[in-house]
Symmetry: C2
Subunit: 334 residues, 2 copies
C-alpha cells in the first residue's frame, strides 16, 4: 500500500491536522517511460508553508487534493527508463508519499557511500545549494567581513555559517535558546552566537559585531531584519532567503521600517530562489562534496519517522524545536 | 551685508519658521588661499530635511547655529586662488547665504552659454547626476523594459524619466495632480502618467504597466513603494533614491510590507548616494550636456526669490506645489 499526504484545505496561520488528508491506496505500477520509486526520506522545509497558500508565487500552489510537494530520496523499485535501474538511489521532488511514479524528469541518481543518504536532502542537496548560492552569489562575502545569519541553527543557516567560515569571514549566528547557540559555536564553528530569546537583538549585534555587519543572510524576516538594518555597514549585502517569522502570520507582513538604511549605507537587499540556479547545481554540489569530504562542512539532520506523523512533524519547522535539517522517514531502508 | 540662514533648532515633523535664524552681517573679506563668492542661486532639495536631523547618516548633520548646507551657484567677487578669477561662475556647496568664503575645494567653474546657469543645479548638476547614476548604475535599464518613477515631476524624477526614454524604455511616471501628469506626458515624454491623488495606485499600475515593472526609481517611499512591490517582474531592480513621504513623518517610518516580493521575484532593492560617484561626475555631466544640446533632455526649474523667504520656499518641496527643480535666487545676476 502507498500512504500519501494530500492537501485537504488551505491553512489560515499554522497548518493543522484538518488541512491534510491521509490516504492509502494500492501501489501503482509504472507505465511506459516511467519508474516506480520507493520513497525513504522526505525533506521538510519552511517553503512548504508558502506552497500551501493560494497565492501567486515562484511556483504554483499545491492544488487541493494533490499530494503535498516535497523533496525526497528514494530507491528505484522497477523502471522502464534507461537511466534508472532497480536499486538505484535517487533524489527529486516526488512528494509526501511512500511510493511515487516518475518519468525521471528532475530526478537525479545519487551515490551512497560518499555521505549518508540524508545528506542529499541537507548539505549536499537543495538545502546546501540554497546556502551556497544565496551567500556566495548574492552577497559575495570577502575575507574578514562580518556575516550575520538568522535561523542560524536551521537547515540552510547552519550551512551558510560554515561556508562563511570557509571563506574567511567572521560568522555570527542568531538562534533561539542556549542549546542552539552552543551548537552554533561548538559544532558549526560560528564565531559568535546570539540567543535572541535571551538578549535584546540590537544590543547583541552591537556586542558581537563591533565593526558592523557586511553581509546578512535572512531566513527569518520581521523584526529581526528590521533590527539588523540598523547595524549594517556601507555597501552591505542582504540576502532574502526566507521569512519564517511571517509564514504563519495571520496579520499583514511586517515590513522593514528601517529600509532607508539601504540608502544611507548604499546597501542592497536581494531575494533569490534556488531553482534559478538549476544550471549551476553541479558546481555547488561538487564544491560542497569536496568540503564535506575534507571535514570542513558538517551535516546535521533530525530524522523523524512515520508518514502519518507528517502534519505534526512539519510544525517543528516553525516551533523552533529542531536543529539542522528536518527529515521524515516514510519507509525503511532495506 | 551678507544675509545667512542658520539652523536654530531641529524640527519635529515639517520644519517651521522657528527652526531658522536669519542673520545679516557685513561681508567678510577673503584671506590667503580663499575667494569670496556672491551666491546667486540656492538649490532646494529634499535631502536637506535629513541634514537637519541629529542622526547618523551619510554626511554629518548641520550643526545648530551653522549656515544651512546647500548646493549653490555663484560668481567670484575676489579671489586669492589661482584657479578662480573675479567674474567666474562657480557651483558648489556654499550654503544658504548671500556671500560665501571658499577655499575652492568642491567648487567647480561652469561655462555660462551652454545652458542657463540654473541648469547646473538641475539637469546638469547634482540633480541630473543623481538621476543618471541612480537609474543607469543601480538599475541598468534595457530597451523595452518598463521603468516606473515616483516623484516623477520632481527635480530628479523628471530627469530619470527622460533618461529612461533615451535608453529605449517605457517610462511611467507617478505624480500628484492632473497638471503634473500633463507635464509628464507632454513636456517630458513619459509614456504614461499616474495621478496617485485621483486613482488607486494598484489599479493604475495594472493599467499602465500591463507587462509588469522591471525598474522602479523611488523618490517617495512609504505606501507607494509597498504597492509597486506587488507589480514587479522577475529580476526587477528598485533604486532607493529617497523617501519624501517619510522625511517629515513624526511616526515610525512605514516599511515595505510587501518586501517578500523581492524573494518571489528574485529582485533587488538598493540604495545609493550620489556623492559616491564623485570620481565619475564628469562622465554624467558630459553625457547629460550632450543630450541637453541635442534637445533630448529638458531642464525645468522653478525659481523663487529672496533669501528671507527660504523657510517658506523650502516647504514647497514637501507640499507638492512645484514642478521640476526648486531654486531660490538670493542675489541679482549682474
Amino acid at each position: 500500500m502507498n500512504t500519501q499526504i494530500k492537501l485537504a484545505s488551505r491553512p489560515f496561520g499554522l497548518p493543522n491536522r484538518d488541512n491534510w488528508q491521509i490516504e492509502s491506496n494500492p501501489v501503482s505500477q509504472p507505465g511506459k517511460g516511467e519508474m516506480l520509486v520507493k520513497i525513504i526520506y522526505v525533506s521538510l522545509d519552511p517553503a512548504m508553508r508558502g506552497w500551501m497558500n493560494d497565492a501567486k508565487s515562484y511556483i504554483p500552489p499545491v492544488q487541493i487534493g494533490a499530494v503535498m510537494r516535497a523533496g525526497t530520496i528514494g530507491q528505484v523499485v522497477s523502471s522502464d527508463l534507461e537511466k534508472f535501474s532497480p536499486g538505484d538511489f535517487v533524489v527529486g521532488n516526488m512528494g509526501v508519499q511512500q511510493y511515487a511514479l516518475s518519468d525521471g524528469k528532475g530526478v537525479m541518481k545519487i551515490q551512497p557511500g560518499l555521505a549518508p543518504l540524508t545528506a542529499y536532502l541537507g548539505v549536499l542537496g537543495m538545502t546546501g545549494i540554497t546556502a551556497y548560492f544565496g551567500l556566495l552569489d548574492i552577497c559575495d562575502p570577502q575575507p574578514g567581513e562580518t556575516v550575520v545569519v538568522s535561523g542560524a541553527a536551521g537547515a540552510v543557516g547552519s550551512v551558510v555559517g560554515q561556508i562563511a567560515k570557509i571563506k574567511g569571514c567572521r560568522a555570527v549566528g542568531i538562534a533561539g535558546g542556549a542549546e542552539k547557540c552552543k551548537y552554533l559555536i561548538e559544532e558549526l564553528g560560528y564565531d559568535e552566537a546570539i540567543d535572541y530569546k535571551n538578549e535584546p537583538l540590537r544590543a547583541a549585534l552591537k556586542r558581537t559585531c563591533p565593526n558592523g555587519i557586511d553581509v546578512y543572510f535572512d531566513n527569518v524576516g520581521g523584526e529581526m531584519l528590521d533590527t539588523v538594518l540598523t547595524r549594517i555597514n556601507l555597501k552591505a549585502r542582504i540576502s532574502i532567503c526566507g521569512a519564517i517569522s511571517q509564514y504563519n502570520s495571520t496579520e499583514a507582513v511586517k515590513g522593514p521600517a528601517n529600509y532607508l538604511s539601504l540608502l544611507v549605507n548604499r546597501a542592497k537587499m536581494e531575494g533569490f530562489i534556488v531553482f534559478d540556479y538549476a544550471k549551476r547545481y553541479m558546481e555547488a554540489i561538487t564544491q560542497m562534496a569536496q568540503w564535506y569530504s575534507q571535514g570542513k562542512l558538517k551535516s546535521r539532520e533530525q530524522i523523524e519517522e512515520g508518514i502519518e506523523n507528517f502534519p505534526e512533524v512539519l510544525l517543528k519547522l516553525f516551533s523552533g524545536e529542531k536543529k539542522g535539517k528536518l527529515i521524515l522517514q516514510v519507509n525503511d531502508l532495506d
